[in-house]
Symmetry: C2
Subunit: 896 residues, 2 copies
């Protein structure tokens, strides 16, 4: 028969910190502290296995569990020379939950268990404190009623408020003992009324019910949701710790507190915490009294303070991590009630990790694992000054809340059109672009703006994706914001914001303010630089950036990119001096005219590439040939129709009317039912070869030009949307022909590669064929996710939020790579590709390249590099290092 | 060293019919006939290996080839006691191509080789026929000039026409000998002028050049295209046969002919062929003289005829297949020049196969393999009477040509609106629905029409797919047809067809006529019924139909379906009495209103299912819950806008304006960028559960109702577009709950299954998970192809035709299942699904279910059944039988 209960008392525990899975975090750390000789009230822990078995048996105890509990209870009673239910020397215990990983506040706890109408009198006698005893009893009934009997806490609180009113007491503490005694009677009557039974007077019944209630709290909806969000398996179960009560509310020589071994906000190495005299733990949480700083304890009780400092040093040294501890002082005696690894800000996490290495507490690998990569984002973007933001909120300037789609803090004047954003931007004004939603036409405006706000769209909408790529502050899906483009204004609640008004966007929280707020730069610390250096020395996975301009490329290098994994050439097409030529190219009715327009674009493209190549001296640059469908470069049909209707009504400007009609006809001809699955990518390059030929020529002429300047350039020409060997063969051949022609003309020798995006499911399935002609693969996991799921990124908001809420999907697959489906295709693609070409260079350039879990996957499937937005580079560097450490540890475990 | 040359003469050949790969079809059949003692002019065949080696060596002969040719030439000369180039006894030979499989007319042949200025005189002397000799020479120069020297045939023909004019001759035969002699001089001068060299006078040089030219003809563009279309490997190469000439043009006791051992049109067992007195083979082909029927030979030369009949019987018996033979009679002596399996109509193929089994010539398996399944289509749809169609074409009634999208022959009055098609149809009129393109709104009109014509769209457009499913005659993508909906007319060339005019559509050819044409029913023969019975006894793969109505279901059973693999419930939504309720359901702003509308639809749906279940008594019926996005059920936005604008201008009917505005708002809200990847399928069923709940209830209530009538019903409820286990779990649970509730209410016990479409790539990849909750899979290969390729079926016409033309894709993947990509996913899906649930029922219900190659694949990957349009059922039955036979033969080969 399994052992279900582990005892701990006076320096000796059956458990230890290695038994976290069995005893839960709380149980094993109490055992560990006991073994270390740290004062902990004695008690015992019921294992998670007992909980799992309890649920397996449909909420019946496993055989022998209750007997084991009784045995250990006896042992506890004999240690303390008190007994549960003993009228003279009553034992009181707490019953606490504790899962394998901390789930703060998600499960239930019962304090002061063992109080009955009889024992409450014994407690009063022994403590010589009548009021204390009745206060304990009424707290117990409340907690037991709530947790075990399922009664509404509010009902008890209502009765307490009445008692306070009757006693004319301002706080709970002012309610006199007799009133509390009276209150207990009312509480018991309430229990009887609601449950039809008297409040249990048998402490063993109390104990059994409380243990079951804590087991059951593992499956309460709040805990289940928390587990789903944090990826904690539902099968783990919780442990239950039963321990002797100690009281911080026995007078001024008593008290309770929480503390951190270092500053959890900054990471500074100083003892940090709070302390409340004459109080129980829940009073600290309730916040009705203001606690004193921990240092105050030094004055109040110097020896207790010294003990506490010695203990916290010992714990930090023992666990080799910053600890969050709870303690109680009962009439001058110190007890530790909990220790656990402390939550901290990203800034603190970095500082603590680096300093602990310097202190010799941990090694570099451990330090690298101590910082969650995605939290670095907090350190990389501008933020609002918290005080000034509180001021703005306090004054009612919080307009609405949307989805935080791009981090940062932006302040600027509202504009409703991309063109105006560009115009005002040129005049040196800071603007916020506000749109119902964005389209590729808005990209220039988004660039020019400080921040972007859209009323519609989800975290993967056009606005969100483009803004994140730009590292731009962005809020999307602000449902309370109604944009009236015609009036150049938006309504949020009862407030109307007009063009030119100043607003502020908090891209970290999604909050929108109708006032300016002071911004502060992100505190990039020396410690972060050190940590990232260690990460670079550790990781084997390359980190590149997605960058479309020389500015992007420079930013990427500053952030540590080792090349560019994706230059999207179409973004260059949208610039004001180019779009007319692009449109001319599209409107061309024959090859010759199309070729002529393409030739006029060539110098622009070449200059772009020259700038990027210069910025990336010594590193490879992957340039993707034109990808989107052509209609994205033409005006919206409704806009054209509107202008046409207007001119028609006025009977003016027949030339423009004719021109409009031509464009409208073209837009109609290019219209597609599903543009995502339409005439784009290499399908375009194959049917209109003039465009790709021009782009290849521009890339290679640029490469030759910078090479002549002495810059080391490694162009990698990438074909988008390849799905068949036929496409790859044809585009490879075309690219090779043009590229070699340029080299021959310029008499230069520049090494270049020709490769392809893998973003169509079929490409992954026939990767062995495609690798015959592709020298590298780059997984375009945005499109691959769209096609593998059959989700249009632009339409997914209609059901994805519902799917996430209902747990049909664990995460948005456009943010977190879907390892089971899309990841499976990626694995198949890499395996088959390398079967044909063992040295195939493989990268990823979707949104996922900067998502830590996805980066770990990329390392595991032996990708050469990940490529992500310049602003995500530090995250990818750290995630890459962690991926390697984890994989090696995994390998060691497997080999051992 | 390889043996490159195989000799045949006088009853003894080195080759045989087992050496088809090495000697080509012609070479091996000549050897086989020689061995059978059938009179064949002697000669030798150069192997395909020599050809392959020739190309491998960059068009140089392999070592020893020419020496081998000379050795065998000597042997031929000594047999015939004539020599190449001998002035007195000149040997003339033909040099013929012959690949492993017949590629009629694709490669080249040279006749009369060996003629020179000297030997032509010897030939004249020996045959005592001056004119004959010069005619042979001028034919030789023409052919050699064309095939070997690459000169234009037209130049020679021009000179011939001049000679005819000079001689005042009406036909070639009337040109006298001296004029032909003169013509030869002009021909030689032409060769010298064009090539700069004299016409080769060395017969060995002629032979060598001719052999090389035949080798080279393997790679001429026409042959390469033919191979690509027919899937013949480019690596095979051609054999070359050099054989002694025999002459059918030596006078009235000579002649030449082609014949079939049975009637290739009907399959009737009668000797069938044509014969031309005093002619060479090319005269038969040229068609300048009208040949006599083969029976005429009986009068002209009874013993020759008897010999020929004996030989044809022998050949058919030997090859156990209908033969297509070529023969020449030279001065009363019969020679066979070729025998091969004869091409035949589908009707003949079926009859010959069945009769040969009855005659004991072949077994049933062989008979089943003798008929190409897709050709059965010719036997299953109405056709135009060929004579009457020729009349119409002759009178200039052929308007235009489009893509033949749905087989059959349709005649009716033109309408341009679906509603009008329904209206006129109800009045008993036969109508043809003509649209620029169709949408789901047109489905009712398509049903009501005899045929459908669209100006736009490809073979996989909405019109094409729906029409094929209905077995409806349909022509799409008729580029010359300009539909003017406003004027209710269409223009084709200079002809304007107005509403109400009669047109005729030939769905087999894509031809559109401006006149009525007599139709004839398809001759469904007793033989076809027998063959299909054998097919049913042979195949293990089930065959079901896609059918949405009781009529469809009945048609499916008539055609031999063993169940329904796909009932598309949305088609029922479009009927006139339902669409208003459907729209009400969609317009509902809350769950209650939506539920109410759904409840009103319930009786309709239940009646539909009752009808289908009754028709399918004893067979399973798979019903797919609602799949398309909701906006498909609402009117087009532009139509609404138009009505709104009109009413607004007139200032009337404000209630209707308000209603229109509401619908317009809804349409806007439902608008999607990529509806294919949007809010549809189970995504809809999960977010609006009322719809699926109603449908499940309707299915189960119908099942209970018919079950009570004694009908055996096996409903299989199918969830569309599942991509994740979460979706499957939720929809399974919902379905189970509603279905069991219905059974409980009705107190019935009906076995039903819950399964899913596999049409999203991810579903195939995580099929092991999905099979936890799915009791069957049905591969929706239409959508699976769309998502695996990233091709929108509705937009693919922009590049797919180009891709097919350029050979980037071997076939339209929406017609022929892409085995490498989509097929790979299907395989993965079945393997993984059966890992979880070994007895998983697996079917296919895409367009591919009736495509023979795809059916073979489905058998190979161990699907349970295929499901296709009711009209394709016979094809699938035969294809299923062939698949099993082929797979078993393959297994025998592998095991041997």
């Amino acid at each position: 028969m399994a052992k279900y209960v582990y005892f701990f008392e006076a320096g000796k525990a059956e458990g230890s910190s290695s038994m976290r899975a069995l005893l839960g975090g709380k149980g094993c750390d109490l055992a560990e502290m006991t073994n270390l000789g740290i004062p902990v009230p004695p008690g015992f822990t019921i294992t998670t296995e007992a909980c799992v078995e309890y649920f397996r048996r449909d909420k019946r105890h496993p055989d022998g569990l209750w007997e084991e509990v009784l045995t250990h209870l006896k042992r506890l009673e004999s240690t303390l020379e008190r007994s549960l239910g003993d009228a003279e020397r009553p034992l009181l215990v707490s019953v606490r939950s504790g899962a394998r990983v901390s789930m703060p506040g998600m499960m239930d706890t019962v304090l002061n268990l063992g109080l009955t109408d009889e024992t409450v009198l014994g407690l009063a006698r022994r403590t010589k404190n009548d009021r204390f005893a009745w206060d304990c009893y009424r707290r117990f009934i409340t907690m037991f009623g709530d947790v075990v009997l399922g009664l509404e806490r509010a009902a008890f609180e209502g009765l307490l408020d009445e008692a306070k009113a009757r006693a004319n007491a301002k706080s709970d503490a002012e309610v006199p003992g007799h009133a509390l005694r009276d209150l207990v009677d009312r509480y018991k009557a309430l229990v009887q009324e609601k449950t039809g039974r008297v409040f249990p007077q048998d402490p063993l019944e109390q104990l059994r019910l409380a243990i079951d209630a804590v087991f059951n709290s593992w499956n309460n909806p709040r805990a289940a949701t928390y587990r789903r969000i944090h990826g904690i398996p539902h099968e783990w179960g919780t442990a239950v710790t039963v321990m002797a009560m100690v009281f911080g509310n026995l007078g001024d020589a008593s008290g309770t507190g929480v503390a951190f071994t270092r500053d959890p906000g900054t990471g500074e190495r100083r003892f940090f915490g709070e302390f409340l005299v004459n109080a129980q733990g829940e009073d600290v949480v309730a916040g009705t009294r203001t606690p004193e700083p921990i240092t105050a304890l030094r004055q109040r009780a110097p020896s207790v303070y010294d003990d506490l400092v010695a203990i916290k040093d010992r714990l930090e040294h023992h666990y080799r991590d910053m600890q969050d501890i709870e303690f109680t002082v009962q009439e001058g005696t110190l007890f530790l009630l909990q220790t656990r690894s402390g939550k901290r800000t990203a800034r603190a996490a970095v500082r603590i990790a680096v300093e602990m290495v310097r202190e010799g507490l941990i090694d570099r690998e451990t330090a690298l694992l101590r910082v969650e990569p995605h939290r670095l984002q907090e350190l990389l973007h501008w933020i609002f000054d918290p005080t000034d933001k509180a001021r703005a909120a306090g004054k009612g300037h919080l307009l609405a809340k949307g989805l935080p789609a791009g981090p940062g803090a932006a302040v600027g004047r509202v504009v409703f059109e991309a063109d105006r954003a560009v115009e005002w931007g040129k005049e040196g004004q800071k603007v916020i672009l506000v749109r119902p939603e964005t389209s590729p036409e808005d990209v220039a405006g988004m660039w020019a703006a400080e921040g972007v706000l859209t009323a519609r769209g989800g975290l993967t909408s056009h606005a969100a994706v483009v803004a994140r790529g730009m590292g731009k502050c962005c809020i999307v899906g602000a449902g309370e914001v109604f944009v009236d483009e015609e009036r150049r204004a938006f309504q949020a609640g009862r407030i109307l914001i007009r063009e030119g008004d100043v607003i502020a966007l908090d891209g970290h929280t999604g909050e929108i303010f109708s006032d300016t707020i002071t911004r502060v730069p992100p505190p990039i610390s020396e410690e972060l630089r050190v940590l990232l250096k260690w990460a670079d020395e550790t990781r084997t996975l390359g980190v590149r950036a997605n960058a479309d301009t020389p500015q992007d490329a420079r930013k990427a290098r500053e952030n540590g990119a080792e090349g560019i994994g994706l230059v999207r050439t179409e973004h260059m097409f949208f610039q004001a001096d180019r779009i007319p030529i692009v449109r001319e190219m599209i409107m061309a009715t024959d090859t010759l005219a199309r070729r002529k327009a393409a030739e006029r674009l060539l110098p622009f493209q070449r200059e772009d590439f020259i700038g990027i190549f210069r910025a990336m001296d010594g590193f490879p640059v992957t340039v993707r040939l034109l990808d989107p469908p052509l209609h994205e470069f033409l005006p919206h049909y409704t806009d054209l129709l509107e202008e046409h209707t207007r001119l028609d009504a006025l009977g003016i400007n027949p030339e423009r009317m004719k021109e409009l009609e031509e464009i409208m006809a073209k837009v109609r001809a290019l219209q597609e039912f599903n543009p995502m699955l339409g005439h784009r990518g290499c399908r375009l390059g194959i049917t209109f070869p003039e465009i790709y030929e021009m782009q290849v020529r521009a890339i290679m002429e640029a490469a030759c030009a910078v090479s002549r300047e002495g810059i080391r350039v490694e162009p990698e020409i990438m074909i988008p949307l390849t799905g068949t060997l036929g496409e790859m063969k044809l585009t490879h051949e075309m690219t090779r022909t043009v590229a070699d022609a340029v080299l021959a003309e310029t008499n230069m020798s520049v090494k270049y590669l020709i490769g392809t995006m893998i973003e169509v499911p079929r490409a992954a399935l026939v990767a062995d064929q495609i690798a015959q002609d592709a020298e590298f693969f780059s997984f375009g996991t945005n499109d691959l996710t769209q096609m593998t799921f059959g989700y249009s990124r632009d339409d997914v908001a209609k059901f994805l939020p519902f799917y996430l809420e209902r747990g049909i999907l664990p995460a948005d697959p456009f943010s977190v790579l879907d390892l089971e489906g899309v990841g499976e295709l990626v694995k198949i693609g890499i395996e088959r590709g390398r079967k044909t070409r063992p040295d195939l260079k493989v990268g990823i350039c979707g949104e996922h390249g900067g998502e830590p879990g996805s980066v770990e996957f990329c390392h595991r499937v032996r990708m050469t590099y990940v490529s992500c937005s310049p602003f995500m580079i530090p995250i990818a560097r750290l995630a890459g290092a962690q991926a390697r450490i984890k994989a090696e540890r995994q390998r060691e475990v497997t080999n051992a």
